[in-house]
């Protein structure tokens, strides 16, 4: 690529846009904090210190980054074919449920590694099945995938609650704190200093690489994109949109299910009602802010994970609700969409010179 003056202009305009989005969000959140009667800069400081202030906090960030990235990877497939897989949240929950089921059968056994590996497979299958149901509802039943997915999320939440209070309740008293803790032989091994499991990190990075390769170089990626951009033309070309939609959904569900597995085996070591921690919904924002780009997504996911983990400090330190992170994340996406729109309304082409 030649480094022409035009490219330079484009680069600087990109930088300008990002700076503008951040400034807009900064003003908005500062205003919100002022309205809530809180010192804005102290709040920002606590978020920063609570996420990157120590290795221990950093490990928490990575633990949030892993499911976010996995879900974002899955969503890239469904977005590419033009589906709004809002059901990613429930797919993650079902992954966790299937994983818990396998681990429960493995509590007595002396082959923990076998059951751990099996539980990951089960998680992927669980998420995949849940996504497939939504996919069938969309392709065969004509149910909009947003409502199908959303309904399935609530159903998955209901199943988890029923399991925790019913068949899988901990001996003695069932409570919102979840099922009984698994014996530590069934935990994903972690670095004891900072409670971070390398296996989870490895799986997330593999998923990222795999997604990048598939979407960029494999035929699947091309077909998904073809159907996403023009279903009618793709159909005439011999591609059956329904089948490919199902495939994309299964991919998304599989990744989300894996994320749910890691939440159980690597983070919480039990099933609890908030096992998905809203990471599925948040991953939708991640992918949107990353402009559906597989390489930007992990960076955005890291930033969002920092916000999520850092804002946990707010209730303790400043008696604020931790949902400030959600406000920042949402406004950031909105601001970026707005600036993007403003950019395209000026109708200056932004593709670099070839």
């Amino acid at each position: 690529m030649e480094f022409s003056s035009n490219n330079l202009k484009i680069f600087f305009r990109h930088i300008c846009e990002i700076i503008m989005a951040i400034i807009a969000v900064f003003f908005f959140t500062t205003l919100i904090l002022r309205l809530a009667g809180a010192p804005p800069f102290e709040a920002y400081y606590h978020i920063f210190k609570g996420s990157l202030g120590s290795w221990n906090k950093f490990a928490h960030v990575i633990n949030a980054w892993i499911p976010l990235t996995l879900c974002a990877c899955g969503l890239l497939y469904t977005f590419r074919i033009g589906l709004w897989n809002i059901g990613v949240e429930g797919q993650m929950m079902m992954g966790a449920v299937f994983t818990t089921y396998i681990l429960r059968t493995g509590v007595e056994s002396d082959m923990p590694i076998f059951f751990l590996s099996l539980s990951f497979v089960a998680g992927i299958i669980g998420g995949g099945i849940w996504a497939m149901i939504a996919g069938f509802l969309k392709t065969k039943g004509g149910v909009n995938e947003i409502f199908a997915g959303l309904g399935m999320n609530f159903v998955a939440q209901g199943i988890i609650l029923w399991l925790i209070f019913g068949p899988w309740k901990r001996p003695g008293i069932a409570s919102m704190s979840g099922t009984e803790l698994f014996p530590s032989k069934l935990w994903l091994s972690y670095l004891s200093a900072i409670r971070l499991s390398p296996a989870g990190l490895f799986l997330a990075l593999t998923a990222l690489l795999m997604t990048a390769l598939i979407l960029r170089y494999a035929r699947i990626g091309l077909n998904l994109k073809a159907i996403g951009s023009n279903p009618d033309a793709a159909y005439l070309f011999g591609l059956k949109p329904g089948r490919w939609m199902l495939l994309a959904m299964i991919f998304a569900g599989g990744f989300a299910g894996l994320a749910g597995s890691i939440q159980v085996t690597g983070v919480y070591h039990r099933l609890l009602p908030a096992i998905s921690s809203n990471y599925g919904y948040l991953a939708l924002l991640v992918v949107m802010l990353a402009n559906y780009n597989v390489w930007i997504a992990p960076a955005v996911a890291f930033f969002f994970a920092c916000l999520n983990v850092g804002s946990i400090q707010l209730p303790m330190m400043l008696q604020l609700d931790s949902s400030l992170s959600g406000v920042i994340q949402g406004t950031l996406v909105l601001a970026t969409l707005g600036i993007h729109a403003w950019r395209s309304s000026r109708q200056l082409p932004l593709t670099p010179d070839q």
Binding site: A36, G142, F147, F154, F165, P273, V327
Partner: protein, 327 residues
């Protein structure tokens, strides 16, 4: 342990409990009739519930509470509309982001008002009418928001189907190009009805925090209502009266959940709260299936099946979700 079913109380609580769903679903119907999808309902209901409660608490005025709640709903709707109509962004994307953002904003801003005792709408039985057996307690022994919701159902139907302005609204939703050729600005009309719909959604939120589930907290209890309202609009085939009936049906399910909980105390309450959602999927599935040619052909010579199908059929405004750009 059995809890006795009293049909009068059951129906009265269905009518009263349905107020937010009816208001929100009607608001969304108006918006979607004009061709715009406001997906942010679940969050904007919470944001307006918070705003209404906080304002009513601070000013000690219920009217101010309802007004500010409606304003909050209208503002969120206006953001969706402007992003979609004037900035050309995906309505679904913007709506979804706003769903999450406004919910978090509501939790954040309302934090210091959690679990406070605030003003509440008082009951206002209508004299004479309330003494009619059965109908009286069911329809006329409520508070103002309930009467407002009942009146609005009729008003929306009348407005959309019987007035020139309603015709304009439908024209923009069905065929904005033709409306434009007739001298109507589809963009302005869509923005206007998005804001109108948002006002109703805001009222729905206010009805939650000031009447149906008084107070504020995390969770408030309104979570999920917005999504149900969105599904009910499809379920009701974009027809205000059918939409309202759908809302009452779902309210009935929720009330039934409370009874069921009494009958099966071992099952956690949360399980009954998700019960409407599988049903929502099922009804949407039925609606999707009856629009398929293969299914239609199979029931061609079965008149009773045809009438069943007629209940579930309803077509979306033709240009729903596709913003119009004048040349």
């Amino acid at each position: 342990m059995t809890i006795e079913l009293n049909f009068t109380i059951l129906f009265a609580s269905v009518i009263a409990g349905a107020v937010p769903i009816v208001l929100a679903a009607l608001g969304e119907t108006i918006t979607e009739k004009a061709g715009l999808i406001n997906l942010s309902l679940d969050g904007s209901i919470l944001l307006s519930a918070m705003t209404a409660f906080v304002v009513a608490f601070e000013t000690d005025s219920l009217v101010m509470g309802f007004v500010s709640g409606a304003a909050a709903g209208a503002m969120v709707a206006a953001v969706v509309a402007v992003f979609s109509i004037y900035l050309g962004q995906s309505q679904v994307a913007v709506g979804f982001v706003l769903t999450l953002m406004t919910r978090d904003l509501a939790y954040f801003m309302g934090n210091s008002y959690s679990r406070l005792q605030g003003p509440q709408v008082w009951p206002l039985p209508i004299p004479l009418l309330k003494d009619i057996p059965f109908l009286g307690p069911v329809f006329f022994n409520h508070n103002l928001p309930v009467y407002l919701s009942l009146l609005l159902i009729a008003f929306c139907w009348w407005y959309i189907y019987r007035t020139p302005r309603g015709l304009e609204l439908r024209a923009v939703g069905e065929h904005p190009g033709a409306a434009y050729a007739r001298g109507i600005s589809p963009q302005k009309v869509q923005l206007f009805y998005a804001v109108c719909g948002g006002l109703l959604v805001g009222l729905a939120g206010a009805a939650f925090s000031l009447s149906v589930k008084p107070g504020w907290g995390r969770p408030q209890g309104a979570e999920g209502t917005g999504w149900i309202a969105l599904a009910i609009v499809i379920f009701g085939g974009w027809h205000p009266i059918k939409v309202a009936l759908g809302a009452y049906f779902f309210s009935f399910l929720q009330v039934l959940g409370i009874y069921l909980q009494g009958w099966f105390p071992s099952v956690p309450a949360q399980v009954f709260q998700v019960a409407p959602f599988p049903l929502m999927i099922f009804t949407l599935l039925l609606m999707g299936l009856v629009q398929k040619d293969s299914v239609l052909r199979r029931v061609e010579n079965k008149p009773w099946m045809k009438s069943v199908i007629k209940i579930f059929s309803g077509t979306a405004p033709s240009s729903l979700g596709r913003p119009y750009k004048p040349d």
